[in-house]
Symmetry: C2
């Protein structure tokens, strides 16, 4: 078993040195945000690391071995989790980025992201609960009536109640148009009837109430996704005075037996077995999907962070093992030494480290764009940030979750046979990580979103803006401490991304949409390598300047440069083959006939 | 739960049409081989498919859910497995490729490989037992005395006794030089003392005896791997009349709790707690590792087949699910249809199908080379085949196991959220597949073997011979039914492999061995794409000729061409980035300092 240590220096580098302290501090001037100062950031980081390492991480393995279970129709969570949750909310972590008006600390996402990384790395199954509560808070805060905000948010921000997201039904997974759950108006509220599956923390024994956000159809609803409305359906009804009343007409039918995240109860929920669960409409009728997407986009960003985080935990385990385990004399050394010095193990760990740093930069950067989209005062800047954030969401979700899964798999490989034995805990990382490329929309769904809604819908404007910004950055990379290959690689990948984007635009215009969407995943990965590679190059430049200025942290900054170079040489090269698939792979896909598979 | 169906037509295509019937038939003339005729192949295939589908596959899930366990110091296998094993040996499957003189059928590996694929796909945890027995048979057959062969082989070929391979100790995994188990001579035999771990089927309740092959050190042994000898250590001692005597001084200490292959007991074995287990020397003293490598090379080839096989099972599950599951209207269609028609799902399944066909061709081809190395009469040809087989072994093991794991992971992705639920069985495929890139030498170990012993040791002769053969084939690809891109891609990848090989040779000559071994895995993958891509191109050519000759199987042969084209366009392109790492990635790796990780 390997403990988790929060990589605080790396996190601070991204937030304070790469993205810029100014960006954090600027936000403190904005409405709705608390004081996001340098000192507060450091204090929160330190405290969050302590909490993650000392409270959440020690529960991680127990949660895997003793999954959440059903008892007498209710969920019993894994041993220690309820107490851990109580500590989590008592320390105020639940409201870190929530609105100040409802008891939150109102901190920006760029400060919330490192905290979220620590929680997920320490205990992913635990952290799914607050993740979903935060999404529900955001939805209610954005479109709820003043009464609804007052009724639900203080309790949810404090964490005394949790929130869930109810989309999926057995026949409706990625295809939400097929949803059948019904909502019938009755005396100013609604009666909800239907079955929902895959409801994360659909029930738990942490809190006295759970606020379910449920997609359902009104009687007059049009068919398809435009006929979905969103309802607030509490587990226990609220009395006029705000106290808890009788149980609502909903029940947990069963829990899924999953590959990983065993401590997170994945519920089948049945609404309205006794005539209909009480619900109230959130937002306008038939606009449920749009509102759910507020929650979903927040969750997609968080799952990107989560993917990177679980990869970080796995990487640390592999690194620690590779530093302890002695097997023979590595090439280039003269005596027996730990396997970290074997060239192939060093290559694996270097690849993992580079990929994680790249994903950290990418996801925190996306968090910063979320902040600016919410709080930037200049409307042009705000809408620019919204567009950039919209573009980044599927990339962060897709690329960081796939990267985290890849890292967890490589980490297990470093352990060799010991990795296959559950005892070391690395197998749990892989099993836990495996869900991140699936839930909140699979990588394929993210890629469809990227190509359909982000690239094609605005004729490439969002993508062009990104490519132009990277192009404009290239000359800055001409720094004497950086190898020319860094700029060359970035310029090369930029060109590949441009060709690929143009090709997809032309293919769409010529009516061959299936070809566009058939290569959407390789395109998403290509943009992931580009944006993360750009941020890694920027990191190298920051480091080069610090060294030039005479920083004493020479090892740290030299490692930042070396890691960016490694990422370019060993990682980003795959962009060439991705571009080849995007630009040339459509006809070969057309040639495949599923009838003959 | 998705059943396994043996892909008999695809298998027959590789054996009879791609590798050539003549190659199979020719072997029937060789000493030591039975009648490998066309008719026999078809009959065996059909019977093996029936057995795999009806006997082995139905046990697969039970084995996962009810792992092998310890009871009163002995292993109790999963429910149904003992009966399955009895049927397996009663039907004569255990001796399919074993020597005729000891009761086997003496069939060539090119015919054994498809059978092995079926068994592993049907039930990987089950099939590990005969896999190891076959390796032990081969070792005893190759270097055992006439008495040893007579004493052990008839029982092992029939399957009445099983065999195991005892290498690993807690401090000695990939580094066998660190082995400590001792063997002391006594009255013409030896007393063995020490602890071995990761012993697959180190104990079982299938058979009355188990023949352990154990690496240990004699008292006068030199240090390192040149001081290892191999011993035959039966679980029960043999009386002079061949009947079973008292239990030997060895015991099963515990079983590992693993990520997958739950039905396969992975044992910690302790030898000599009561003074020393009885053992007899196999082969010459201090030559144990060489002999173990006979067994290991056979096992490495088999694990390559196994990786592909478990991928095939996963692919079939994903395909079946994608043909059933309806989610919306796929682009390009006008009504709701199964997700197999969604462009991204079609791309995933196409990639999986292509990769599996490529690995099947690669592994069966390697089986054919094993046959020729064993039975070809012309000594020049035989030693050529031995060299080719030596070159292919790490490629087959590394590339096919990594590919199988990749396929299993993609297959789970096709299932979406349902894939993460253990109920569908696809998660088991991923968990089972995960071991294949580790045991019998990790991918890193295979790559070191490839670069060190295969590429550099003979100054590139083996690799050059392969590249020359592929070069000579290129003009044949100029067929009107094949797109020119097929030959272009193959030629391109051939060039990349040549540049990479030359670069590694030069780097080694300049003394930078750590750089060579630091990029050995990408080099292994590059050669894997090359050889499998060459075989896919050859498959396309075979198909084009069949169509030209007026074959009625137009769908099948057109699919073969389309799949080869897809493999070139969507798969082989990654070779460019692999070559880039091999040729240019060494310095970036040198720049990474594990002290600063």
């Amino acid at each position: 078993m390997y403990d988790y240590r929060a990589p605080l220096r790396d996190m601070a580098f991204v937030v304070k040195e790469l993205l810029g302290l100014s960006a954090v501090s600027r936000l403190s001037d904005y409405e709705g945000y608390g004081e996001a100062t340098d000192e507060l950031f450091d204090a929160i980081q330190e405290e969050c690391a302590r909490f993650s390492q000392e409270v959440l991480s020690p529960l991680n393995r127990m949660g895997d071995q003793t999954p959440a279970r059903m008892e007498a129709g209710a969920v019993v969570t894994a041993p220690g989790f309820k107490a851990g949750y109580e500590q989590f909310i008592a320390a105020g972590w639940n409201g870190l980025t929530a609105p100040v008006a409802f008891g939150g600390q109102g901190l920006p996402n760029v400060m919330g992201a490192p905290a979220e990384e620590m929680w997920h790395a320490a205990n992913m199954a635990f952290t799914l609960c607050p993740l979903l509560t935060r999404g529900a808070i955001e939805a209610i805060h954005t479109v709820g009536t003043p009464e609804q905000r007052q009724r639900y948010l203080p309790q949810m921000v404090s964490g005394r109640w949790t929130g869930t997201m109810n989309l999926t039904e057995p026949q409706a997974g990625s295809d939400l148009a097929a949803l059948r759950t019904r909502a019938v108006p009755e005396n100013g509220h609604y009666r909800i009837t239907g079955q929902k599956i895959f409801i994360t923390y659909g029930d738990q024994d942490y809190t006295e109430n759970i606020i379910h956000l449920v997609l359902a159809r009104l009687p007059d609803a049009p068919a398809g996704v435009k006929g979905l409305s969103l309802f607030i359906v509490p587990k226990f009804l609220l009395q006029p005075d705000g106290s808890l009343g009788p149980a609502n007409d909903l029940r947990t039918v069963s829990l899924e037996h999953k590959l990983g995240i065993h401590a997170s109860p994945t519920c089948v929920l049945s609404y309205g077995d006794e005539g209909g669960a009480w619900g109230e409409l959130l937002g306008e009728p038939h606009r449920g999907l749009e509102i759910m997407f507020i929650m979903m986009n927040a969750a997609r960003f968080s799952v990107g962070v989560q993917g990177m985080a679980i990869g970080q935990r796995a990487y640390q385990g592999a690194l620690e093992y590779a530093r302890e385990r002695i097997q023979g004399t590595p090439l280039g050394l003269s005596t027996a030494a730990p396997i970290v010095f074997h060239p192939d193990v060093k290559r694996m760990l270097s690849s993992m480290k580079a990929r994680l740093e790249a994903c950290r930069a990418l996801s925190y950067y996306a968090g910063q764009m979320l902040d600016l989209a919410l709080a930037e005062k200049d409307p042009t800047q705000r809408s620019w940030a919204q567009a950039r954030s919209d573009l980044l969401t599927p990339i962060v979700k897709g690329f960081c979750s796939e990267s985290g899964l890849w890292v967890a798999n490589e980490a297990l490989q470093v352990f060799g046979g010991m990795g296959y034995v559950e005892e070391t805990g690395i197998a749990q990382c892989l099993r836990d990580a495996r869900i991140t490329t699936i839930y909140e929309g699979t990588t394929g769904i993210q890629a469809n979103d990227l190509v359909g809604r982000k690239l094609l819908r605005d004729q490439g404007a969002m993508v062009r803006s990104l490519l132009t910004e990277i192009q404009a950055f290239l000359p800055e990379l001409q720094h004497p401490a950086l190898p020319g290959s860094l700029a060359q690689t970035l310029a090369h990948v930029l060109g590949l991304a441009e060709q690929s984007s143009v090709h997809l635009g032309k293919t769409a215009l010529s009516g061959k949409l299936p070809q566009c969407f058939g290569v959407a995943v390789p395109y998403l990965h290509l943009l992931g390598w580009l944006v993360s590679g750009w941020l890694m190059a920027r990191s190298a430049l920051v480091a080069a300047r610090k060294l030039q200025e005479g920083s004493q942290e020479t090892d740290f900054y030299q490692a930042k440069i070396a890691t960016a170079v490694f990422y370019a040489e060993h990682g980003m090269g795959v962009s060439t083959s991705l571009q080849r698939i995007v630009v040339g792979g459509g006809p070969a896909l057309d040639g495949m006939n599923p009838e003959h598979f």
